[in-house]
């Protein structure tokens, strides 16, 4: 009963208080932080570095391990969320670097398929399409997903990342600026350029 009350009390703490407790090796606070940030970390890793659920899980776990190992170094200059999202983004970058290296190695191997090609078309995994019974709707949905994905891939990397953070991860411009270490003006500029390009490419889908 007492433990239950304490667990409840931990979950109503704000991030700052929770971080203070986690720094003092309070395992309940650590657990609550992981619970609180798991969905967001997963979503960032999903859009930023992979759509393979195993890979997203590994990247997310690695990011949490890094954050908790170094939580004593967190000085609270930025909010915990900003600090943590930055760790997630860096973990994604490291993951992509390792993955590209591996793919380059395999591309030198005769007869092996290029790793990236395998993971590129994940339209079959789109959860929003599973409920459709209308084959035409499924086809249209898949085609749309493919076109949107290609349009995003065609953007310069910075524009794409900023756009994904804003639209798919629902972060604010201020948050994106803090996570990426850029000014808000730069983030706005990337976001607006990305919007302009996507609007041109996806005209047929969004104008009706």
């Amino acid at each position: 009963m007492e433990a239950e009350t304490e667990e409840k009390s931990v979950s109503i703490l704000n991030d700052e208080e929770m971080v203070t407790r986690a720094k003092a090796d309070d395992q309940k606070a650590v657990t609550e932080l992981i619970h609180r940030y798991q969905p967001k970390a997963y979503a960032i890793a999903f859009h930023l570095c992979s759509e393979e659920s195993d890979e997203v899980r590994d990247v997310t776990q690695e990011a949490f391990l890094k954050a908790i190992r170094s939580i004593k170094k967190f000085r609270g200059q930025a909010s915990f969320s900003t600090w943590f999202y930055r760790i997630v983004v860096n973990t994604c970058r490291d993951f992509l670097r390792r993955k590209r290296k591996k793919e380059r190695l395999f591309s030198l191997w005769p007869g092996k398929p290029h790793g990236n090609e395998v993971s590129q078309d994940n339209s079959k995994e789109q959860p929003d399409l599973k409920g459709h019974n209308d084959p035409m709707a499924v086809f249209t949905g898949k085609q749309l997903t493919r076109e949107v994905r290609n349009a995003l891939r065609a953007l310069p990397e910075k524009q794409r990342v900023v756009f994904q953070f804003k639209v798919l991860n629902e972060m604010t411009i201020k948050e994106i600026a803090q996570v990426t270490g850029s000014s808000e003006g730069t983030i706005k500029s990337h976001l607006f350029r990305a919007t302009h390009s996507l609007r041109n490419v996806l005209k047929d889908w969004s104008e009706s």
Partner: protein, 186 residues
Amino acid sequence: MKPCSDYQETLLLDVYGELNLVERRVWENHLSTCEHCRKEKEQLLRLLKTIKNALPTPTLSPDKIAEHVRVIQRKLKEEANLPWWRKARFHLPQRLIPALTTACVLLIIISWFGLKEFKKFDMLSTSPQTTSEEQINRDDLEVVKNLEFLKEMEDVEKLVKHLDETDSQSPSTQTENNNNGGSDDA
């Protein structure tokens, strides 16, 4: 009244939900009188909705989240029980680990060979010399040794020649030699 082109940034900030109260009031005033901007806003909102629907963000079930949390906690516990020198690697940037390992291996190799050479050098001479000089000296020594060997070979050849000459003077010995050669061939 400002022209629509002046509201481009405001329009984008509006669809991204980033307008402050003052900006919003001015913008809404404009919107109420400008059909063009209203249409632009609608179209942009539709574009963002289309993109969001095409690439939905996965939501994890509570079970899945609990499972992830358990795995992370288990790994943290395992790490806590490791000795300090194995824990240290978690605090080094991952990218530096291969480079640091290579540097350590090189350092070990260099110091090992360096020590061996140093010992050799100590035994050979007491005067300071560089490794390349030492190498040249060793090569010279080899040449001198070879020359001595060649000289010895010359002496042997001379001896054989002399013996041959003596043999040709006594035919009985030559026949014996020929027979020996024959039996070797067979």
